[in-house]
């Protein structure tokens, strides 16, 4: 029986099935693309120099290299083949044994420079005849514009090439250093079925990289900017967080979770609702980290794995605090995740957090502090969307969350204001105050808001003892 070939009348294997996909070799990029690039399509991988286009393409090539039909990688006028291969060898996905057999490199620049751009389609036809490639990559395709006497000639060649690539059972990737405005002028964008873009933004002293799908015919995909990192393993992409499709589990929300802080559960009408998100604000030294840690450790003692994401205290400082509660930082069920605020990239943090929630069954989570996320994400709308989606995911997964935020020190006499632009995204808001009275630090706490509970709104004194925080 020949696959896909059927006697007339019987649906062929591919006739009614989902569109076959070509994996990128990066699981999250495949999910962004709805399963990968649709097979038998023409795709553009665009981005400025240094954004990781060639690496992305090479990773895809080696991931799909098999023992059947080969993959053809054509270099043109941008980078010499020797240079491409030299740097490629440093990456984990590179497999030298595939070279020349299942991955075939061809250099087209010299012949095209001699014969002109019109020689491209006959060259590709000959490669199809001799190699029968299942994937064809041309890198850089944009550089071929330099060989064309006019845009009209380039348009003719692109049209002809698209006809050939559509007729034959192959999937094509055209890699190029295109700028966004060239999408409207360059003919390859008209024939492309898929367009993905790799971007780089300067943020302070570091570069943030992103992956974006611009177009994908015949397939749904996740829009927006997805974080991207270049690692020794190749390109790593983190899918942008969006609100879950599953609605909040209100059955979960009917269960109370103790804060682990003496006297606080009573102020909250019996504790926090499971799956709720609480903002815990206050000035430096008011006890935010202590309360949040107490909440995490209380869960661990009750058999609820807890994750403490700390963006300010370094790992040694936090372990010291944990030990101060008489708890071994290595206690099973306790997970401390540190990210330097300098290197913080919100998408990769979220990816790690949800990995731990899935793999370790985390039920309580603390993010200390949201201010560091504000610094890491320049776009306030993006952060707003993130925090909203985050709280929705916590709710769906039954994970009870405390997110701390720093307020300006208002003085102990009150008159403070909540400077937390995300307050409406949370279920509960607790505010700490700290001041000096009679030469001692006085700390107070007020429950500002609880969703679905009657709470005690009075300002209450807070005491920090050897056993932790107590509400007096």
């Amino acid at each position: 029986m020949i696959e896909d070939r059927t006697p007339a009348g019987q649906p062929s294997a591919d006739e009614d099935a989902e569109l076959p996909r070509i994996s990128t070799g990066t699981a999250s990029a495949d999910r962004i693309l709805g399963g990968g690039f649709p097979a038998h399509s023409i795709n553009i991988i665009m981005g400025e120099p240094g954004t990781g286009k060639t690496l992305f393409a090479q990773q895809l090539v080696f991931h799909n290299a098999g023992d059947e039909r080969p993959i053809l990688y054509v270099t043109t006028l941008s980078e010499p083949l020797a240079k491409v291969v030299k740097y490629l060898q440093k990456f984990e996905f590179f497999d030298e044994s595939r070279m020349g057999t299942s991955v075939v490199y061809e250099e087209a620049g010299t012949e095209l420079a001699e014969k002109g751009i019109g020689a491209l389609v006959p060259m590709v036809t000959e490669w199809i005849r001799t190699l029968g490639p299942k994937i064809i990559v041309i890198d850089s395709f944009k550089a071929l514009h330099d060989l064309s006497p006019s845009m009209a000639e380039m348009r003719r060649v692109v049209h002809d090439l698209a006809g050939l690539l559509t007729a034959y059972d192959t999937t094509a990737f055209l890699v190029g250093e295109y700028a966004a405005e060239q999408m409207a002028t360059h003919p390859e964008f008209v024939v492309a079925d898929g367009i993905v873009e790799l971007l780089r933004h300067e943020t302070g002293m570091r570069d943030d990289r992103f992956f974006r799908v611009r177009k994908l015919r015949g397939s749904s995909y996740r829009e927006g900017l997805h974080a991207l990192r270049l690692t020794g393993g190749g390109v790593k992409i983190y899918r942008r967080l969006v609100s879950p499709q599953t609605p909040r589990g209100y059955s979960i929300m009917r269960e109370r979770v103790s804060t682990g802080v003496s006297g606080l559960d009573e102020l909250l009408g019996g504790g926090l609702w499971r799956g709720s998100t609480t903002l815990l604000g206050g000035p430096t030294g008011a006890g935010k980290t202590t309360i949040a840690l107490q909440f995490t450790l209380d869960g661990v003692r009750r058999g609820e794995p807890g994750l403490y994401v700390h963006l300010e205290e370094n790992p040694t400082q936090l372990e010291f605090l944990v030990e101060g509660f008489g708890t071994d930082p290595e206690t099973p069920g306790l997970h401390l995740l540190y990210h330097s605020p300098v290197e913080l990239q919100i998408d990769s943090l979220v990816d790690e957090m949800f990995g731990l929630i899935r793999e370790r069954g985390v039920k309580r989570i603390v993010i200390d502090a949201v201010g560091d996320l504000v610094t890491a994400v320049r776009d306030p709308q993006r952060l707003h969307d993130y925090l909203y989606a985050l709280s929705q995911h916590f709710a769906v997964n039954g994970v009870t969350a405390i997110i701390t935020f720093e307020t300006a020190r208002p003085g102990i006499t009150g008159g403070y204001s909540i400077d937390a632009p995300f307050s409406h995204l949370s279920d509960n808001i607790l505010l700490l105050e700290a001041g000096i009275a009679d030469e001692r630090t006085v700390r107070k706490l007020r429950v500002i808001k609880t969703r679905g509970s009657a709470h005690d709104p009075r300002l209450r004194e807070v005491e920090i003892t050897g056993e932790g925080v107590k509400i007096l």
């Binding site: 020949i2 070939r5 059927t6 006697p7 007339a8 009348g9 062929s12 199809i128 059972d169």
Partner: protein
């Protein structure tokens, strides 16, 4: 049963009805390499006339061809006792295997062109027909 004629050099003859120049070019490459003699036409009415005159071993037709579509061409060939024995392979961009069966086609393949699938299908059709198999390239 038709009296299909092989080409002068003994190779089995295939009549291809196709408008897309790239598909035609690739079919010419792969089918010649597989040892077949290939004739081309780009509309159904001409194909019917050629099929009656040439008596090819196989007709490969796209559905979307002018003057007489590929399914009508197939039906006409299969309804005529003189041409009924000509094998017909519908090779189309459309997902139309059921319609191809209703038209009496012997096999259906969907584009794009995958040379191994195409050549394997043709070889099986030729074998079913009981005619001498085409020469195979080394």
């Amino acid at each position: 049963m038709s009296d299909s004629r092989s080409s002068a050099d003994g190779r089995a003859t295939i009549l291809v009805v196709e408008r897309d120049p790239h598909i035609r070019a690739l079919e010419a490459l792969f089918l010649n390499e597989a040892g077949y003699f290939v004739e081309f036409t780009d509309d159904g009415a001409s194909a019917l006339e050629q099929a009656r005159r040439l008596r090819p071993d196989l007709v490969i037709t796209e559905i979307l061809v002018p003057r007489l579509d590929g399914l009508a061409l197939c039906r006409t060939l299969k309804d005529d006792p003189d041409t009924r024995g000509i094998m017909v392979l519908i090779f189309s961009i459309l997902t139309a295997s059921a319609r191809a069966r209703d038209a009496g086609a012997d096999a259906f393949l969907r584009k794009p062109l995958a040379e191994q699938k195409l050549v394997d299908t043709i070889r099986q059709l030729m074998a079913r027909r009981g005619e001498p198999a085409a020469e195979t390239s080394a």
